[in-house]
Symmetry: C2
């Protein structure tokens, strides 16, 4: 059986080593970019997500408050990129797949999530090109890692139903 | 609904802040203890687990090779305690709850897991008392975090059945 990370690599086109180049020797992305940049990035990202014209995508986040989504994301990123462990002090382990269980994480959702993240990265100040490439590779791999994780969990259940019931759950 | 970290804190008696004191300012447990100590700790731990006289507990690990279990654990610990990201380079995100899905993580199993880990900590050389306390608090909280995560996933399924079918699945 293909592992989660192998599926993520295949679907995202980003292998595991490249995805985790965020940890490369001597570079601490938190120290390089600073707390405010991560707050700005997550705010920019979720402003786009919550205003998305695509109702099926917006509805995935319908049960979460935008402010909480922003805080969860930037605290996770700060911790993962070598900064203080704000996330774990407040919420424990990231447990990424389990915490995404309430959401409808499909291939199509991952693609749209990444579309918004690319735009957020491109329009947030003070993110240099090298960091931008490392972050988008990390996000690409991670998005499909979550698709693989949630699919694997759902394999014996009804896999495709969202809150509104209107979105066909495609795996492409 | 109680969060995963609140359940973990209640069941383990270790609150989230204390559990993540492994990240306290200025202390990097990987630098303090070194790679070999983590390898020794995980080897010591899994030697005890795979030799456990309790068949119901030993059988939880029956499908995994001991050498792989040791490597997965020490690579995770090294990464989590501030060392190189060996784990993610090889396997992607830790995704602790999802990766424990194949195992029968009950309260009783957590208790026995912690019994062996305490013994392993007490009999591995070069772990000072302060580090030992931080590590066991981290392990206690994490063990029950996983019980909570796996229980939450199973809440609409048959919750209690192990490989041999012989162990009563108690939540105490």
């Amino acid at each position: 059986m293909q592992s989660l990370q192998d599926k993520a690599a295949e679907w995202s086109g980003v292998d595991t080593t490249l995805a985790f180049a965020v940890d490369d020797d001597g570079v601490n992305l938190f120290q390089k970019l600073g707390l405010q940049t991560f707050i700005n990035l997550s705010t920019n990202f979720y402003n786009r997500v919550y205003d998305d014209e695509e109702e099926w995508f917006r509805s995935i986040f319908g049960k979460s408050k935008k402010e909480e989504a922003i805080q969860n994301q930037y605290e996770f990123l700060v911790q993962r990129m070598g900064g203080p462990n704000f996330y774990s002090q407040r919420r424990g382990h990231p447990a990424l797949i389990a915490r995404h269980r309430p959401f409808h994480v499909t291939h199509e959702a991952a693609k749209r999530w990444l579309h918004h993240m690319q735009q957020a990265l491109d329009t947030t100040s003070d993110i240099d090109d090298d960091s931008k490439i490392k972050l988008i590779n990390f996000f690409r791999h991670t998005a499909y890692f979550l698709v693989a994780g949630v699919e694997s969990r759902n394999q014996n259940q009804m896999p495709c139903k969202n809150a509104s019931g209107s979105h066909p759950c495609k795996n492409f």
